[in-house]
Subunit: 157 residues, 3 copies
Amino acid sequence: MKMDAVRRGVEDLIGAYAEVIDEDRLEEWPALFGDPCRYLVISRSNHEAGMRQGVMYAASRGMLLDRVFSIRRANLFEPHRYRHVIGPVRVKSVDGSVAVAHSHFIVARIMQDGTTSLFATGRYLDRIDTSKPAFLFLDRIVVLDSDKIDTLLAIPL
Amino acid sequence: MKMDAVRRGVEDLIGAYAEVIDEDRLEEWPALFGDPCRYLVISRSNHEAGMRQGVMYAASRGMLLDRVFSIRRANLFEPHRYRHVIGPVRVKSVDGSVAVAHSHFIVARIMQDGTTSLFATGRYLDRIDTSKPAFLFLDRIVVLDSDKIDTLLAIPL
Amino acid sequence: MKMDAVRRGVEDLIGAYAEVIDEDRLEEWPALFGDPCRYLVISRSNHEAGMRQGVMYAASRGMLLDRVFSIRRANLFEPHRYRHVIGPVRVKSVDGSVAVAHSHFIVARIMQDGTTSLFATGRYLDRIDTSKPAFLFLDRIVVLDSDKIDTLLAIPL
């Protein structure tokens, strides 16, 4: 596959991920991953220390769906939304049908009363299956710049 | 027209829009729209409720120009600038010469004394005329994530 | 060279710049510039007044490296990191092997204790050497929207 097509597909997948979360279409979120997969949200300092456990973890679509169900059921936390902006997507390598891509993000959080704040920044470290027209995340590691993980963290980042 | 060319043209138009606003070249802003057109700034909750009126509205280049004139004349509000960053642009469909594109934004506001704050986040829902080399907005609906619309809102978002 | 290839190379260079800074790989930062070069961080009001001196300045890779050394030696300021997101990249012109590109940025700053804030916004005005596979900055002028330059400014923006 030509490099330009890989880039476009990777950008589309990363764009779709931000869109389904920010538009509260969380039910569509697991379908962006392969099965099995690895989804991990972890702070940079823990990531650099080689830790493999983070604030959120899933190893299959089923586990991702469980996360969505628990968000839908919970209603305990104060309702809020995110808004992602993604910095330049960098395709680092393509090996067979697997692309490695890194990108940056800044996420704003909008509470139900409209209060908006800078919520999180960090990096996406992705391994992406490019073998089918709809690319899928094999690994998505979300490395948060800050160690201060908000206790409100429930929606995937 | 090939999909890649459509994407590029859409990205260019969206980039030009942010540039003319952020660089205070507002007089160039109406020329990015078709005539007639629809420009609407609305909160998400009102948008989802099906309301068609928002905080700003224009149906023609003339109305857009009126908005620019009133900003230039006003000098009443505290001078400030915006800085847009745009998340991934998603071309949703192309029907004949009309492309539908969605994108995300975060806008910072910089007051004259240099104070910078996170001002607004939201989505652009665009219908774009791709029939001429310079693409034009037919519809640009700016859906704000927050219901708290700043009373200072004067410059288009 | 085809316009699409120029765009891609420019986007890659701009992405690499954000990445080496945000990931604290500052030693790789000077290699993104030609030699001689011009790197200037300046406020918008000073830039518009035609001033050629700013908050940071370098005219060669050697001067850029000096900046990195002094950051590594200093350890005086409170440790922090940046996170860049870049708005749409606009290739303004290509003249021979030199491309002129403008882009927007918002930078968050993350202190060691995890406190995250909106730090700086502005524009990159670039002249880029496209003659070799790895594009290089000939000029990178960083125009800050705000005149309030943080006294902590040490890491390049």
